[in-house]
Symmetry: C2
Subunit: 394 residues, 2 copies
């Protein structure tokens, strides 16, 4: 029977009007309060920020992507170099995903998110063969074929050595029918059991395994997926796969997936790859404990600063109206970027093509996300979640 | 009579076997010990590093380039935003150059150093007209014509507000003859007097003016240039212009220029745009107090780490031999990059195109330069300059 000696999750407070909850997640690399945002160190580094910057932004936890790291520099190499914590210099909690999402969603040489949303451009897919055994794909790096199986994904994640690891699942795209999704869900469950067995074989007591609720856009399949997870000894649960075509449908699907997740002892629930500002407020209300998303750091590289009071929660610092604006990026923020530099300076750096502008925006956007999560946690502690949401969007 | 109330330069120790000297340079934004290296924040930022990183690397002083800043974002704008210190967040000593070097050396849209060395590719020059009045050039940003005169360069540098500012001079290229150089030197001296007059008119007691020794590759003209400076109330002296075709000639020319610089009270001597490792040891021995050069931060962006023990003082971290090397970039260094990360990690980041790899190399290369300068200063204090040089190159 799988156990997780260095891990614990406890719920400290529950919202009266929703499934939102304040929790504490304990890992061998430290504890964090939830709801929390997980920053994406896709290839083993936050783009334009290091561990020091993460700490300055009050970040608690990061993730590495198994797909990217297995291709470059390779899991064996990272293991020989002491694992992902030692390799990256991040000594706090860390999660890796299974690698499945990228294989099922990426086209050769591009970075898309077809599964999550509505992009349907034709591309040569990475995936070349899908069978009961696993998923074969062709590396865009060198053209080599790799097969990811439930067992090899666990093995690779063992080599990477993150605290939390995730089972391999089939991520069904948006446009498949119910029958395909139902058959896929059954295979995903067989894969989950193979993952649990592999995890037990390799387990050294330093990692915790998350199962994933699949089931596409179908309420009954999502319930089936959640009930399957309830019956298995995962440390945590994640919601993955197709979340519909628009935001309202996404919240419905997250609701279908999380509502039946009711293990005897509460388990942390992670929403894979989602982390828009609205999504976080909605997801927390549906019981989500952790989120991850590349958006805060990705939009920084395109010149955007997150701000509560801005349109769509973001300012484009390349806009000429900031050329002589001596306010900080976000007057509500006290991060190192906001306390030392003006919008005018960041505007200049972006126009001049200076890397330091991206560093400042990355720092601020990370601090913005951790401040949002702290706001939500404080509200849950004070039993004021709904009020806090109104204040946030006021 | 020009005076410099917030400034002072004193020589604390002199080497017995050369003109090397340990000094203290006091500015309104703090003091520094010399010999010192000035890091290039060309457009108002060190590429891939901020003030926090400069401090972590023990950097004392930075420079901004008048040419780049007058074109983007403009000196008036920087003045309205509180000057270059407030704009960039760097609160330590700062120097700006006159803008002349770029106008005389850059081609349209490129970044060359023809004057310093032997590059002779044909390019459309920035300079469109040179007269007694000043130098007219066409901005590569928007095609607009600008005329830089001794007076406007001082005016712009007043608006930028650095501690130390430099007179406009004609930078003669490598391939001009003695007659041209002699006539140019005379104009440069008339420009120097116009600069002093303009400086006096605009002086607020917060800046100090440097004159520049010109005279090309000709010993007598360099002596004439230095003697001219001795007769004028500059706070400091700089060596600029053509320094020959190869290193040995450069050291001869620096010798010609610095040997006659013998004011009654010692003045700091800056070597404009030069800062190779060998150049620094040689330059210090010839009496140079400060150096600036883009090389340490530029080569970082191309994957190079400075190291005393490496060939040519640098490692190419993209080289496959570092793929599993768990040493720090430079085992002799204790900078944040070297104390937290391995060569293998930096190698991976470079191969993966991660900005953070450039940040780590920039941090290390800055720390390497400040450590070199501290080594030299310690040796001068202990009267062991020659021994220290032998140890360094052992």
């Amino acid at each position: 029977m799988t156990d997780y000696p260095g891990f614990n999750f406890e719920v400290l407070a529950v919202d009266a009007g929703s499934r939102a909850r304040l929790g504490r997640l304990q890992t061998p690399h430290g504890s964090l309060l939830t709801p929390a945002f997980i920053f994406c160190a896709t290839k083993g580094a936050i783009k334009a920020a290091g561990p020091h910057d993460l700490k300055a932004a009050n970040a608690d936890i990061i993730l590495g992507n198994t797909y990217h790291l297995m291709i470059q520099p390779g899991a064996e190499r990272i293991e020989r170099l002491g694992g992902l914590h030692a390799f990256t210099g991040w000594d706090g909690p860390m999660l890796t995903d299974s690698g499945g999402f990228q294989i099922f969603s990426l086209g050769q040489g591009t970075d898309a998110d077809e599964i999550k949303g509505s992009r349907h451009e034709k591309r040569t897919p990475l995936l070349t063969k899908l069978s009961e055994e696993g998923a074969t794909f062709r590396s865009p790096r060198d053209g080599a074929y790799h097969t990811l199986t439930p067992e090899s994904s666990i093995q690779i994640q063992r080599q990477l050595g993150a605290d939390m690891v995730v089972v391999l699942d089939e991520c069904t795209p948006f446009n498949v029918d119910r029958d395909y999704t139902a058959r896929s869900l059954e295979m995903t469950h067989r894969w989950a059991d193979r993952s649990l067995a592999a995890f037990d074989r390799l387990h050294d007591g330093k990692q915790a395994l998350y199962g994933v609720v699949q089931g596409g856009i179908y309420e009954d399949l999502r319930r089936e997926g959640a009930e399957f997870l309830n019956s298995r000894p995962f440390f945590g649960h994640a919601v993955g796969g197709c979340l519909g075509a628009h935001k309202d449908q996404m919240y419905d699907i997250v609701d279908y997936a999380t509502r039946p997740l009711a293990p005897a002892k509460p388990k942390p629930i992670h929403l894979l790859g989602i982390g828009g500002i609205n999504d976080i407020w909605e997801g927390v209300a549906l019981g989500i404990d952790t989120f991850d998303c590349v958006t805060p750091t990705r939009i920084a590289r395109h010149g955007w600063a997150l701000a509560r009071t801005a349109d769509n929660h973001r300012h484009n610092l390349r806009n000429a109206r900031f050329a002589e604006d001596s306010d900080p990026l976000d007057p509500e923020c006290g991060c190192p970027a906001c306390s030392g530099f003006t919008r005018a300076y960041v505007h200049h750096l972006l126009k001049a093509g200076e890397i330091f502008g991206i560093q400042l925006l990355t720092m601020h956007n990370m601090a913005f996300m951790t401040r949002l999560m702290a706001t939500i946690r404080s509200a849950l502690l004070a039993d004021r979640f709904d009020d806090a949401k109104k204040v946030w969007f006021a």
